[in-house]
Symmetry: C2
Subunit: 531 residues, 2 copies
């Protein structure tokens, strides 16, 4: 069963390897575990619903409690620590477009807000009810069917509530794949990916969701928008692009037509090492600009490399690898690890491997073991957060993207901001970064930070807020985007105007009201209140 107060399946526990415990203990001092509140206690705190009964809306306390928060660190702090929560007044689980229409009518009639809810995996507050009018959270979990498959045009039409594994299972049976693997893949939904402009681990090969989302249906307060899946069009602004990143403010995506690919013959993930960060970054840029078809490239800073290897645990194989790397000039603590993905026909993968390692100019070691380990653990990082929390450590990430020229300075600025954010109270922050996605013109930066939980949830949240604000301000000052892949939600909303500008913010506000005159859909998300 899905865990109610943290990531994932509650039958799955990930343990923190001793090497990582030692590393964090040394970097931050001992963790201070806190006691969790129980699900029963949370349910007992759910106030009576303000909604009159409606056949599509469930007002049971347990259901409302389970849909109160997403998966951000503040969500975890609140759910585990027992902060005061805002609950939806009811949860609807429509199973057809016409039921979504009915919910739109309900909202208009009663003036309540609707929050679209896919997998509930947002890390920026997208699904959290805010104080205000009554809220119906609209879970799309039952809209999970494959509706149409056009093999000739490589287009598949899904209901938008379907989650990653079900998409790939159904396409796989037809010999095809979507290829969208965000870290939240196991729970996040197609509609959620679209609404938040999601990026997957292999978006280098398969494209971001912008490239995969060809068309579909969006039910809005102003009526239903149907987007045809043209391969390209010059007929005015592309309405798909308004829906992408709309974060539930324009409507609810009920159906999506996506571009699919045949299943690859071969897929492998390999590791490469660089003697230092400058070499790693140059290699990544050369590969990104070479046109060599890799399906993934991520490159870790030295500290992330050390942390990752600690996480992998000390084994005899890792000791041998370490010796080999030292001998080849990639010495701890300066060395940087890269993971490269290859996907396609056997012949093309073989060719891409040769060309990719040429472009990277990395220290080659026969370390496909680490690549396989990455693949095995590709969706496990969020589980680790549960385990670290239980040791008294809080983990979160910030991410951005910028042009190649600005990548080095942006990275330095973000890490410095994060590391210094708790200096006032003498707390340290362990922060490390990887380039998670590369493009010809630039790259994304993904910084993980770990800090000690404080004595109370409020104090822990305050620590997080200071780190988050410092990082976000550093991103804005560097001229980078406030999000490469997590979206805006509530947490990034204060920083959006810095990149959209006053004219752009005004246009976005007008756009929202063109679809949703009364502001019934997901109010307070994406745009700052009152925008």
């Amino acid at each position: 069963m899905r865990r109610w107060n943290g990531w994932g399946d509650d039958g799955v526990d990930v343990h923190v390897p001793p090497a990582l415990q030692t590393l964090l203990g040394g970097a931050l001092g001992p963790g201070q575990p806190s006691r969790d509140v129980t699900f029963d206690a949370v349910c007992a705190a759910v106030p009576p619903s303000r909604l009159a009964p409606h056949p599509l809306v469930d007002t049971e306390a347990a259901v409302r409690a389970r849909h109160a928060r997403g998966q951000s660190l503040p969500d975890l702090i609140a759910l585990r620590g027992g902060a005061s929560l805002v609950f939806p007044d009811g949860v609807a689980q429509p199973s057809s477009e016409s039921e979504v229409d009915a919910l739109m009518a309900l909202a208009a009639e009663r003036g309540c807000s609707l929050i679209p809810y896919g997998g509930g995996t947002s890390v920026t507050g997208h699904v959290n009810p805010l104080p205000g009018p009554p809220v119906v959270t609209v879970s799309l979990a039952r809209l999970d069917r494959l509706r149409h498959f056009d093999e000739q045009s490589r287009l598949a039409t899904f209901e938008a509530g379907i989650a990653g594994p079900a998409i790939e299972r159904q396409l796989g049976a037809l010999g095809h794949r979507l290829g969208h693997y965000p870290q939240s893949f196991e729970y996040s939904s197609l509609g959620g990916w679209i609404a938040t402009r999601s990026s997957g681990q292999q978006s280098r090969g398969y494209g971001r969701i912008e490239d995969l989302f060809a068309g579909g249906t969006v039910v809005t307060p102003a009526g239903t928008l149907r987007l045809p899946p043209f391969p390209a069009s010059a007929a005015g602004p592309d309405l798909r692009q308004l829906v992408l990143g709309s974060e539930g403010r324009l409507g609810i995506v009920t159906e999506a037509i996506v571009r699919v690919s045949p299943l690859p013959e071969v897929e492998r993930f390999e590791t490469a090492f660089f003697p230092h960060w400058e070499a790693a970054l140059s290699g990544a840029r050369r590969l990104a600009q070479s046109g060599v078809p890799v399906s993934m490239l991520r490159v870790s800073t030295p500290l992330e490399t050390t942390t990752t290897l600690a996480l992998a645990g000390r084994t005899r194989a890792s000791a041998a690898l370490d010796a080999l790397l030292r001998w080849r000039g990639a010495r701890d603590p300066a060395r940087c690890m890269a993971v490269v993905g290859f996907t396609g026909t056997g012949k093309r993968v073989a060719r891409a491997r040769r060309e990719a390692f040429d472009a990277l100019r990395s220290v080659r070691v026969g370390a496909s073991m680490l690549g396989r380990a990455w693949q095995k653990g590709r969706f496990r990082a969020p589980y680790l957060r549960n385990a670290l929390w239980e040791m008294g450590y809080a983990v979160d990430t910030v991410e951005t993207a910028t042009t190649w020229k600005e990548v080095p300075a942006t990275l330095v600025a973000i890490e410095a901001a994060v590391r210094g954010a708790l200096g006032g109270e003498g707390e340290r922050v362990h922060a490390f970064t990887h380039v998670s996605h590369v493009y010809t013109t630039g790259a994304s930066l993904y910084t993980t930070f770990v800090f000690r939980a404080a004595a109370t949830p409020e104090a822990t949240l305050d620590r997080w807020s200071r780190i988050k604000a410092a990082a976000s301000e550093a991103i804005v000052r560097a001229g980078a985007t406030i999000s490469h892949q997590h979206g805006v939600g509530t947490d990034h909303a204060p920083y959006l105007a810095a990149e959209k500008g006053p004219v752009g913010m005004r246009a976005l506000g007008r756009l929202v009201s063109a679809f949703d005159e009364r502001g019934l859909l997901n109010p307070g998300k994406l745009l700052p209140p009152g925008a």
Copy 2:
């Protein structure tokens, strides 16, 4: 000097080869040449300007006459036949962003309209003044400088009035290329490409303008929008995508940051033949879906193949080619010609050639001569229109895009509609088509039609209107887009609602008014009047 009443340099004349004359004579009957009006006569018809003098606005009749129309067939009919024209009241040629600001202020103050004008090459009415308030046409010809070049991030910043050849000349000197080659390349401008969602002949390799336009500056009545060139972002809807296809309704693009590539080592265009259309279309789809990196693929129907070969003229080489093709099973009149472009390093081009011809399964002939002929004449088709007009034949094109599954039926519907459109008066229409761009999920269709000019410009325009309406209605009925590459302007505006839907049209209208509350910018274009 640029021709005032037709395409191109008035020192360049293209002649119609005898074989094409014979073909058209047979298909349509003899042409009926008409007499052109003179430029002096047109200038004499320019009414006094309704604008008070302004230092940035030129109200001279000759300048206003030269900016009255674009390059559509109705424009040609009107300019050469002497139909009654609507002229701008003045033409401004700002040379800085602040002068564009000043023109925006002028428009607001005096309530006049502004029409952004790049190369004046629109074929759908984008630059034509309509009856209404006074009009200032804003030519961006002087905004033609390279402002910044970031080799590391492969980004170049140009002022938006720069035309194709100047872009490539300046980038070429820096060892780079943009790679955007619409047929209008010699005159059309970067800003115009962005505002109309342009596609180039090699967009398969370099991407459409959507892929090349990374950011820039748009001066709007609501203020200036600055779009940062992030490689990717999840921070809400992408404002670039609102500007792309905005057709001057939101603002004037003054500066564009574009993604550039190093100059290729090798570039070649080769021809391939197929025994019939079904084989050609399957081959094109296989190649498009194979991922083999070709920079271009266009495939002609049998009638376009015959017409193209007639246009190439009868030579000894073509007779030998014909014999070879017959022997290899690609017989006239069923055979179809494809042109394939290869661009890149020598090694990759060699590999792509092998793989591309494997995927096409075409009849291979060593006919790179035809590929070179295509390359030499790639921007000459518009010149041919001048020459055919002088023989009494009118030429125009319609274009669309749809999914692979719908391509065959859409083609049949468009050609049937065009060919039958003048049946009522016993006139025939010679129509032929090529797939001009391929994508994994579908392709564009580009249909050329030739008909005889009538006795008066009004009657010729009426013939065109009936053909255009029949073709547009066929496109809409087939569920395809009203434009893959020419934009909407006035000519496609009546058909836009069919694909955007009522909710989408309303959103576009609101979007325009978010930037331009009073409707000062290019009124009547993109959206039907009153939308």
